[in-house]
Amino acid sequence: MLIRSSTANPILPSEITSEALFQSRRDWLKTAMAVGGVAALPALSACSVEAQGVKLAGVKANPLYLVNDEKLNKADEFKNYCNFYEFGTDKSDPPVMAKSLKTRPWTIAVEGEVLKPQVFDIDALYKLAPLEERVYRFRCVEAWSMVVPWVGFSLAELIKKVEPKGNAKFVEFVTLADKSQMPGLRSSVLDWPYVEGLRMDEAMNPLTLLTVGAFGEMLAPQNGAPVRLVVPWKYGFKSGKSIVKIRFVEKEPKTAWVKSGPEEYGFYSNVNPMVDHPRWSQASERRIGEFSKRKTLMFNGYADQVASMYAGMDLKKFF
């Protein structure tokens, strides 16, 4: 008998229950049984309904982008541990404060040095290119990391649609700064709105992902809903959240963290174990969920795909 796996609806890496989660569910059930905790079941299901995001339909796993031999983080870890200063500077702030973020209606204006400037509605953006699931390492400048199954498509797909002119050398990403929704904007910790940027070749690199989901669901507000960037070979802050504007420009954009501390945060901010942050070493990182630290990989493990873009550059100078 011929057994064929269905290629139409393959199982996504994010759908496979991790062994740890499987075990913890079993352990939980055992405990629940042991304490006669059947009464606790309705409470549990209510809680998991609330934590559940909106499933994204028609997502296909892209087998070119997997992180082999490294376990996926749990969606729960991903949703409860993130930096989003617009909602407060503590990592426990965004999951609570971002709950009320309005993600519909939402538009992204694409403008600047392009032949076809346009405003995309978020729902139209979903259909711009097929949604893929890609598993990337995500390394924060604060020396922690996760492995996340993102959903989106290469930013290059959008860039091709707007036809950049020859003088478009950089791409600037402007994220939402709405005082009525974002209590963190009262703080002057950064110069709002949060602006990030990439060089044109970095923006066109197939790894650079315009992201609308994670773990098979639409992005949660605290993770940058409804649309964010993911640039896996750079520190996480380069991957702007809740983007409202993409501008093609001639000069290197003045980005939020560079403005805040140019001696600590560079425009490139490529993951580099050899270039320390002034206040801490970047040689190793704590993978969320692990006890020991891991050695940080050059370009976060994506050297094969990106190192050539920086050939001949002094990465200590252009950090």
């Binding site: 870890e77 409860n80 541990y81 500077t89 805040s260 600590e264 070493s281 704590r286």
Partner: protein, 211 residues
């Protein structure tokens, strides 16, 4: 003076002893939260970061309590408060030690190369490390036998190191949280007030003598 006020001014030594144990019990609550929370998963998805921050916070809070005792004693006119001062100091050392060990073990995994590099290269670690080293002689001599051995005057002078420790600990926190120093500035303000009060009172006393 009311009876109540009087009993607060000169309480029985049994009462002071009870307050001391209450202080110790309260001071250990954060420690038990960490000790139980680590295995039970109360500390969030990055428990080691939580422990690092929590032990640091409680070190500086304990230091605030320690340095508040002398001014409070004067303002409230409760001389017996001084008998809690060494206890508060030892609690400070307890949390500083946990904070230091968290760094040494859970952050650096006893990689001495990395540890020395951190101390030399990173100013916030340099001052934090210095503050911890200075705490050690104070913790060792926080007992009656040491006061007897050193003599009250020498002991008093030695324990003035706590002012340097407060400055170093504040710098440690301010420099660590460079980009968002709101919280450390609150502690800086409290320490400025506590140390300023001492300078002011010293100045008053000097003026009175001269008159």
């Amino acid at each position: 003076m009311s009876v109540l006020a009087k009993s607060f001014r000169t309480p029985s030594s049994q009462f002071v002893q009870r307050v001391k144990w209450l202080l110790i019990a309260l001071a250990l609550l954060p420690f038990f939260r960490l000790a139980l929370g680590a295995p039970l998963g109360w500390l969030g998805v990055n428990p080691i970061e939580f422990i690092t921050r929590s032990t640091g916070t409680w070190t500086i809070v304990s230091l605030v309590v320690t340095l508040s005792i002398t001014p409070l004693r004067r303002v409230l006119n409760w001389p017996w408060l001084v008998r809690l001062r060494r206890t508060a100091g030892l609690i400070t050392f307890f949390y500083a030690f946990l904070h230091f060990m968290t760094w040494l073990w859970l952050d650096r995994f006893f990689d001495w190369n990395e540890i020395v590099k951190d101390i030399v290269k990173r100013p916030f670690i340099t001052v934090g490390f210095a503050a911890f080293i200075l705490l050690i002689p104070l913790a060792i001599t926080s007992n009656n036998a040491s006061i007897k051995k050193l003599g009250a005057a020498t002991w008093q002078n030695l324990h003035k190191l706590v002012y340097a420790i407060a400055v170093l600990a504040t710098l440690h926190f301010v420099w660590l949280a460079r980009r968002n120093p709101n919280e450390p500035y609150i502690y800086a303000a409290i320490f400025a007030l506590l140390l300023g009060a001492r300078v002011y009172w010293k100045y008053l006393a000097k003026n009175q003598k001269n008159r």
